[in-house]
Amino acid sequence: MSMSGARPLNPGRWLGVPMLLCMLATVLFAAPIRIWGLQLPEPVFAMVPAFAWAMIRPSILAPFALLLLGLFLDIFWGGPTGLWGLSLLVAYAMVLILRNAMTGQSRPMMWAWFAGVTGVAMAAGFLFTMLDSLAMPSLLAVFWQFLVTALLFPFAHRLVDRFEDADVRFR
């Protein structure tokens, strides 16, 4: 048996590339396009790595990558700085804690977990916005963003599948 499986994972591959892809997708979906009076949805693409990184393995770099991603979202979207950074870290922490319960479950069950974690992140965002702006965001708007974000699970599944077994120490 070769020892290649024991080599640590290259952070550029499992952290850097998904992070850049998320940023690109966010910029892409911020295009001011309106077709038949409808605008593009605005999913939180960063939820995909927030879920997948915690599932793949515990890491020191991942929280900071997530923080960077959240800060980018806040600055690019023009929201309060730190809001998405904190909300994504809450979701990441939740997955990290429940990691053992989640691994090995069926795809629909994992989708439900992903939706649950997304709900927690949105609830955290709702709460932090309430504290920051002293006003209550529209629940309907929060729900729409939750819905379109929960549909991103296939990307998270693919990311987990790709790197889950990349390092034998974390099987």
């Binding site: 929280p63 990290l96 708007a141």
Partner: protein
């Protein structure tokens, strides 16, 4: 010496714990960022260098991404106009017939308005200069509703400038960099705009909540609002000029009064940024800074109450004219007479002396 061979080489810290510590540190940093954030203020310095840099970089990238979408939209419009020409023609004819009546009414009202203005000596506000810009990116989430417009400080745009499209108010500028500015939409949760109901002049604060229809809060008065009432800016507080169209009032499902924004009815490609800072801008600065004072138009100084005390005997005089027409000359005619060129000299003197001192009081 490599770390592994050192005295700490055998020290093994579980990865889960180090990951947890990293997570906590990252969360603390995020909290610090959140506490330090002041994005909704009208202060220029609150919009940090990082945000400005990201905006400057995002502008060309988002502009390039938005371009194909814009072209597709234009192409769709072209195709649609080609296929629906007949129906559109019918609709436009009906609209034109209706508009002709409105035009006649508007001309009559304009005429009447001009007369009222001249009768009352009313001074209307001068037109405010504006800059046109194209929207290159648009965020629509529940926690942030902003747009990036491709015109910035080089066009004279400043933080606080109101932004409109061809239908109505869109928001205001919260950050400016070179070539790009960030617009906080009326729907953003941090947005507060003083508005009034056009029909009743009732004041309210338009409060965004991340949804498409912002709320009307602090609405005052007895029966101040009805379904469909036009909402315009009130100009209170001096952030936004008075009378900009905002939207129509509707009652939401939650029982609150909300506003359907006029700006939502049109495309979101182009916006106009009013270069409006505050009401001082509306005053005629040139006239205020005139170096010469207007000429003194009072009556002769000799007749002024300051120079000559009013004759105490005058109350007794009125009976006299009835007796003879000439006696009034004895009491009143004495005053205009001394109006020799001597007291008249201050008039030109004041005009010539002011240039040096005019600037002092300002």
């Amino acid at each position: 010496m490599p770390f592994r061979e050192g005295p700490l080489g055998d020290l093994k810290v579980p990865l889960t714990w180090t990951a947890a510590v990293a997570l906590i540190v990252a969360a603390v940093i995020a909290v610090a960022f959140l506490l330090a954030d002041r994005r909704e203020t009208l202060q220029d310095q609150a919009y940090g260098v990082t945000r400005q840099t990201v905006d400057v970089v995002a502008k060309p990238v988002s502009g390039a991404i938005a371009a194909p979408g814009r072209w597709t939209g234009l192409g769709l419009d072209y195709v649609r106009s080609y296929f629906f020409t007949a129906a559109e023609n019918r609709r436009l004819k009906a609209e034109l017939a209706e508009m002709r009546q409105w035009r006649d009414r508007a001309l009559a009202l304009q005429d009447q308005n001009e007369r009222f203005k001249s009768l009352m000596g009313l001074r209307t506000d001068p037109p405010i200069p504006m800059a046109a810009a194209r929207v290159v990116s648009d965020s629509r989430g529940p926690f942030a509703n902003t747009r990036l417009a491709d015109a910035g400080s080089e066009r004279g745009i400043q933080v606080g400038n109101p932004v409109l499209n061809e239908r109505g108010l869109v928001g205001r500028v919260v950050g400016v960099s070179r070539g790009v500015s960030r617009v906080l939409l009326l729907t953003d949760i941090a947005s507060r705009t003083p508005v009034m109901i056009d029909r009743t002049n009732a004041r309210a604060i338009l409060t965004g909540d991340g949804g498409p229809n912002p709320k009307l809060e602090y609405l005052r008065g007895v029966d101040p609002i009805q379904q469909g009432d036009r909402v315009v800016t009130s100009g209170d507080g001096g952030v936004v000029p008075r009378g900009l169209p905002v939207g129509a009032a509707v009652k939401g499902l939650d029982g609150r009064w909300r506003v359907v924004l006029f700006a939502d009815q049109s495309s979101i490609d182009f916006v106009r940024i009013l270069l409006f800072k505050d009401f001082a801008q509306l005053a005629d600065e040139k006239a205020l800074q005139a170096k010469t004072l207007p000429p003194v138009t009072t009556e002769d100084p000799q007749t002024s109450i300051l120079s000559v005390p009013p004759p105490a005997a005058t109350p007794a005089a009125p009976p006299a004219p009835q007796a003879t027409p000439t006696p009034p000359a004895t009491s009143t005619a004495t005053q205009p007479k001394p109006a020799t060129p001597k007291p008249a000299t201050p008039k030109p003197a004041a005009a010539t002396a002011t240039p040096a001192s005019a600037g002092a009081p300002r």
